[in-house]
């Protein structure tokens, strides 16, 4: 709720770290694509290309 103006004698409203992460939709999109791409696809492909070709 960044638009809320803090009263002059108040600390600015602090949004907890996790809530800021969860509100950052494009960060979530990035994580949701990168994590499986690295751990499932890239790691998997690296293993597959190491299989020797049958003579």
């Amino acid at each position: 709720m960044s638009e809320i103006e803090p009263a002059p004698d108040q600390e600015p409203l602090r949004i907890p770290f996790m809530q800021r992460v969860l509100d950052n939709h494009f960060l979530l999109l990035f994580l949701g694509v990168v994590v499986p791409t690295v751990l499932y696809i890239i790691w998997g492909i690296l293993e597959l290309v190491q299989i020797p070709v049958a003579p």
Binding site: M1, H25, L29, G32, V33, V35, Y40, I41, G44, L48
Partner: protein, 563 residues
């Protein structure tokens, strides 16, 4: 740019962009049409696998099985999901929809692609099952249609993201997006990975079918294809969990027990759910145990934890709301007094229970590398996923339809007394399908198999008589499920095209005192943890889960005696 036209929903008070509304309608109607077609193929498949009936000849069986998987798993589900994405963004955020022209282009691509692939299948040269593993090769337009469909759906996801950006910039909501929208966001994120993986693998496969690429490595194909095939199931889970929360909010005014915990559970989905794709490759040589076990066990358990959180949180939210309304007697009065005659509620609750007990438990069992070996590629697998994607997702989407008809289509639900029974009949049929197929799978009956008697096979092989019994029961369950599905189609078609218009405020089942928009379209927790009934239900679930899990290890120890 043309000016956005809105109406205000008399029931929820939400401001509705009419072009978003039209898009939701189009996608939902397309979804239901493909459900009807695909369901019919499903019935014919089940009747073929009923040994005493053995309806279709072998080539038609594989054609019908391909069409079934394609029409229900891809077309029905993803069209409906796009409708859910537009609903959860434009409508719940009180916003206009981003780029309606693009959204219509997406719809056209999906519809065109879906039809092209269906034609390819019906022409008979593409009975490769919806997985289309090379070296099986389908007609080129089979792949082309799928690619067009995937690109269209991907555009739909970006319209959703665009709408989120517009809503934030135009300040149509305050603070964080509502939980239901967050669930839809989870679905959309997983969808981006899913559809991109699909395009990445299907484009070279299409070129191969044309003759421009000489070879597709089957294992490489399987690896990337399942990044789509499995992850798309996780779109479903996220979408139907979002719908559970939406229905709980709309019928009970229920708020999640804790926004923080429910959102964290969705974050677990975003990070880990897609890795479980690896369970489809558990018996594949060439991939290390480290890769298999990491992706299916460690990561998957975190995602399962997410589901268990939702499984506690959704009934808990309803219990808290019902108790706040005074249903405080004993442990279960809140549940007894729930609107069991309202198909939106009964469908949603059956979906929740069956997804957990049938789909969830069997999924964890099969996702365990060691015990997977006992049921890999048996009928246990379709038994499991008719528990997830049919009892869970399809039933949740049906339940949601009973709310979309009055709220978005502005029509009364036709044949109300039929509608009352529809979720029960469909649920019963699907529970049977799921259990009987799992039972037959436990006895070793293979999936995707035309003739379990092996009449023309060079070797003699006999399944135990129980397997035949189970396949017969499965056929009967399929008839019940198909009737329940038919009832749904009839109700939707009649309501949407010939229904009485709804102009005024309607009463959703349990008036909660607060406006529905406040419950479904804003941030906030229930602020109570007094949910003894839910805790009892969760206790029952865990007991069943643990027992079944260990029974399977015991079976395994008998398969593989160590002496």
């Amino acid at each position: 740019m043309s000016k956005t036209v809105y109406r205000t929903c008399p029931t929820t008070g939400l401001r509705i962009d009419l072009s978003a509304q039209a898009l939701i309608k189009a996608n939902a109607v397309a979804a239901v049409v493909f459900l009807a077609i695909g369901g019919l193929f499903g019935l014919s498949v089940a009747l073929t696998r009923w040994p005493a009936v053995h309806l279709l000849p072998a080539d038609w069986f594989y054609l019908a099985l391909t069409a079934h998987g394609l029409d229900v798993l891809l077309l029905w589900i993803i069209f409906f999901e796009i409708a859910v994405l537009y609903f959860a963004s434009a409508i719940l955020l009180n916003s206009r929809i981003a780029a309606p022209r693009w959204a219509w282009a997406a719809f056209a691509l999906m519809l065109g692609g879906g039809l092209v692939t269906n034609v390819a299948v019906l022409q008979g040269q593409s009975s490769v099952m919806f997985t289309s593993y090379p070296p099986l090769m389908a007609a080129q337009h089979f792949y082309l249609g799928l690619i067009l469909f995937a690109v269209g759906a991907l555009i739909g996801c970006f319209v959703f993201f665009g709408t989120l950006v517009i809503a934030r910039d135009e300040k149509t909501y305050q603070g964080s997006i509502p939980l239901v929208t967050f669930g839809a966001l989870t679905a959309a994120i997983i969808a981006v990975f899913t559809l991109a993986s699909g395009a990445i693998i299907l484009i070279p496969t299409w070129l191969w079918s044309i003759g421009l690429v000489s070879n597709i490595d089957p294992l490489m194909y399987k690896l990337v294809w399942w990044a789509m095939g499995h992850s798309s199931q996780q779109i479903n889970v996220s979408a139907h969990v979002a719908i559970w929360y939406a229905i709980a909010a709309m019928l009970f005014g229920a708020k999640p027990l804790s926004e923080k915990i429910s959102r964290t559970a969705f974050l677990l989905y975003i990070l880990f759910l897609q890795l479980a794709s690896a369970h489809h490759l558990l018996v594949e040589p060439g991939l290390s145990s480290e890769w298999k076990v990491f992706n299916t066990s460690y990561a998957m358990y975190l995602a399962v934890l997410g589901s268990m959180i939702h499984g506690l949180s959704v009934p808990g939210a309803m219990e808290a709301a019902q108790r706040a309304r005074g249903f405080n007697n004993g442990v279960f009065q809140w549940l007894r007094k729930a609107p069991w005659g309202n198909p939106a509620f009964s469908g949603m609750f059956l979906s929740l229970v069956m997804f957990g007990f049938l789909g969830g438990i069997s999924g964890v069992v099969m996702g365990t590398e060691q015990i997977n070996i006992m049921m890999h590629n048996t009928l246990y697998v379709p038994g499991h996923f008719h528990g997830t994607v049919v009892a869970g997702t399809t039933l949740a989407f049906m339940a949601m339809s009973y709310l979309l008809i009055p709220l978005v289509f502005q029509r009364e639900v036709a044949f109300p007394s039929l509608a009352k029974w529809q979720p029960y009949l469909f649920g019963l049929g699907v529970a049977g399908l799921s259990l009987f197929m799992m039972g037959a799978g436990t006895l070793g009956v293979a999936r995707r198999h035309w003739d379990i008697t092996f009449t023309s096979a060079p070797f003699d092989f006999n399944y135990p008589p129980t397997a035949y019994l189970l396949m017969g029961l499965n056929g009967m369950a399929a008839i019940a499920a198909a009737l329940g599905g038919l009832m749904f189609i009839v109700i939707v078609v009649k309501s949407v095209f010939f229904g009485k218009p709804v102009r005024d405020r309607i009463t959703l089942a349990a008036p909660s005192g607060q406006p529905i928009s406040a419950a479904v379209a804003s941030y906030g927790s229930a602020g109570t943890l007094r949910i003894p009934g839910t805790l009892v239900l969760v206790g029952v679930f865990f007991t069943a889960f643990v027992l079944y899990y260990f029974v399977n290890w015991k079976y395994l120890s008998e398969v593989w005696p160590m002496r």
